[in-house]
């Protein structure tokens, strides 16, 4: 495993948050840290976490495969999560999602990376901001009341920024 030294340091900080005989509890925190570093959970990370916590690889694997936020493949540089659930849908969430799909020429369910590898659009369940529906989480930032016009505007920003790179 080739992890950044900052990641390794955080990993060593988080393990003692749990009792010494309950290191397995650190599985989710470690997977989050690795995913933030690498962008996804590679197969070798599963072995690595298991060895680090003194558990079996299957124990880590079953966690990676259950939780929707963990992924075993790389995704686009930007991750657009559009809320699909009722309050957002009642305010046009499906249209918002379709606009992002159109803008990046991709599919949200199951999530695909845009052909240029830049953006992954995903339709996700309630993001707990139903009062400002429809909502979209782009990487770590929440965007509220995202109608089609706002979706286009956000997409343009992402595209402009991609061009600058």
């Amino acid at each position: 495993m080739n992890l950044k030294s900052a990641t390794l340091q955080k990993i060593d900080e988080v393990i003692p948050h749990y009792p010494a005989d309950q290191k397995r509890s650190a599985t989710l925190p470690l997977l989050h840290l690795i995913q933030e570093d690498v962008g996804y959970i590679p197969a070798e990370a599963i072995e690595w976490v298991a060895a680090k916590l003194g558990i079996q690889p299957i124990n880590v694997y079953e966690v990676v495969t259950f939780y929707p936020m963990f992924r075993q493949k790389p995704i686009g540089r930007r991750h657009v999560k559009v809320c699909r659930t009722l309050s957002c849908a009642l305010m046009g969430g499906y249209k918002t999602c379709a606009e992002f799909e159109k803008q990046f020429n991709t599919h949200a369910g199951p999530a695909e990376v845009s052909p240029d590898g830049e953006v992954t659009v995903e339709f996700v369940e309630c993001l707990a901001s139903c009062g400002t529906a429809p909502v979209v989480l782009i990487d770590d930032e929440l965007h509220e009341k995202v109608d089609c016009a706002k979706a286009k505007q956000l997409s343009d920003q992402i595209k402009a920024e991609a061009k600058k790179r």
Partner: protein, 450 residues
């Protein structure tokens, strides 16, 4: 009659200009004074205040908080844990988000008072993975509080110490269920545990006695420790004490979050006066009053309920006070406080299909009736919308739902059946007429819900 005024206790500083989420601002507004008072009291006294307050859990089940604490096994010799449920995953619910992001120290003070009262030395905040900033804000707030000796070893110079750690989830709704949450915190798949024997109060985290409380509940505890249980019990209505955060979303003019004394505002006042009524040219059709699992209410239906003295009263949907007991008597629940409103533009079959897709996605898969049933309810209702619909599909949906509730390990079984059962009970005609109705051209601007 105008709606009663909000009573902002928990949301006192939410959206207040100039109020920031750092320690200095919190302390400037009197923060941690109640903790200071509390650590000088016998812990049992605080537990007693919470019992007297009548506080009921704000996470969904409305379970009395003081009673929950009294169930904790204190003789086992094992450590007692506090797990804060910050998973906020019930669709329609968005209240804990604002406490976490804007007033994290209020929560931390509530946690510390709860831990001191229950002799807890280790607390975990389980926060949903989709709140990355929330997790960082809490971590920062804990670090600040620890440096000022409001948590960590030797709290405020006493012999008492308690650590708080933040633990992030990863996008699974079932982690909101308390035993699923505990499994997740142990680093496993969040498969809920069977009760008995795995009551958290006895066999919780690491098989130790554990208290699981919602974020909002713990903020109320802080307030109770300040004003006392008797004074708190005077807020709200009998058996439904205190204030409660109500989250309104969907088809209203002014969606948002509001704090009212429990039972002092009716659903009609909330939706018409506080939230400004329906969107222009529309009429209210239905409302889910307590998160997406709560049974739906249909505008126009009425409920005949028994009064304490044996006489009867009739309530329309608009008349229902937003308390735990009346909503339950009307066949639904106050749940998590998430009020989802649908107007006359809503296709009820599609709305149910939307909800069913959520539950099919979120079932943990342990129990056959839930895993298979939630999937079939999704498939049938989605087929009705996107493919062929049959007049008997409503009855079929109901038969699937009826075979789930009561036959599962956790309350998700009920949570996923209640929408179908109540939609069919109240909008059965719409389901029956769907094959014909579908042939009509969709009105311009009609939204897809599934």
């Amino acid at each position: 009659m105008p709606a009663p005024a909000q009573r902002r206790i928990i949301f006192q500083h939410i959206d207040e200009p100039g109020y920031t989420n750092d320690l200095a601002c919190y302390v400037k507004h009197g923060g941690y004074e109640i903790l200071k008072k509390s650590v000088a009291r016998p812990p049992a006294e605080i537990m007693d205040e919470v019992k007297k307050s009548g506080l009921r859990g704000r996470g969904g089940a409305g379970f009395p908080c003081g009673f929950k604490w009294s169930l904790v096994d204190r003789k086992s010799g094992k450590p007692i844990y506090l797990v804060v449920n910050a998973d906020e995953s019930e669709p329609g619910t968005f209240k804990d988000r604002y406490i976490i992001h804007q007033d994290p120290h209020q929560l931390i003070e509530g946690i510390m008072i709860t831990c001191f009262a229950n002799n807890v030395k280790q607390a975990y905040i389980y926060i949903r993975g989709e709140f990355p900033h929330g997790a960082r804000i809490l971590e920062q707030a804990i670090a600040e509080a620890r440096a000022a000796h409001f948590c960590g070893p030797n709290v405020l110079g006493t012999a008492y110490g308690c650590e708080i750690y933040v633990h992030r989830g990863a996008g699974a709704y079932i982690c909101g269920e308390e035993t699923g949450l505990i499994e997740s915190l142990e680093g496993k798949r969040p498969y809920p545990r069977i009760k008995p024997p795995y009551f958290p109060a006895v066999l919780g985290l690491y098989q130790c006695p554990t208290i699981v409380n919602n974020v909002e509940t713990l903020c109320h505890v802080k307030y109770i420790a300040d004003v006392g249980g008797d004074a708190y019990a005077k807020i709200g209505t009998p058996n439904n004490t205190g204030t409660r955060l109500l989250c309104v979303s969907g088809h209203v003019q002014k969606p948002g979050y509001y704090e009212y004394e429990v039972g002092k505002i009716t659903l009609g006042e909330l939706l018409y006066e506080v939230c400004g009524g329906p969107l222009p040219g529309r009429k209210f059709k239905a409302v889910i009053p307590g998160g997406s699992s709560a049974k739906i209410l249909k505008f126009g239906e009425s409920f005949t309920l028994k009064n304490k003295d044996g006489s009867m009263r009739t309530l329309t949907v608009e008349d229902i006070p937003m308390d735990f007991d009346t909503l339950a008597a009307c066949g639904t629940m106050g749940g998590s406080g998430g009020v989802i409103v649908m107007d006359d533009s809503t296709d009820m079959v599609a709305a149910l299909a939307n909800i069913n897709a959520f539950y099919a996605h979120e079932s943990c898969g342990q129990c056959t009736p839930c895993r298979e049933g939630s999937l079939w309810m999704k498939k049938i209702s989605t087929r009705m919308v996107h493919d062929t619909a049959r007049a008997e599909d409503g009855a079929l949906l109901k038969s699937v739902a009826d075979q789930i509730a009561g036959r599962t390990i956790c309350a998700f079984g009920e949570a996923c059946s209640w929408p179908t059962q109540s939609f069919i009970a109240k909008f059965g005609d719409e389901f029956k007429a769907y094959p014909e109705a579908k042939k009509a051209v969709k009105p311009a601007g009609a939204l897809d819900l599934v």
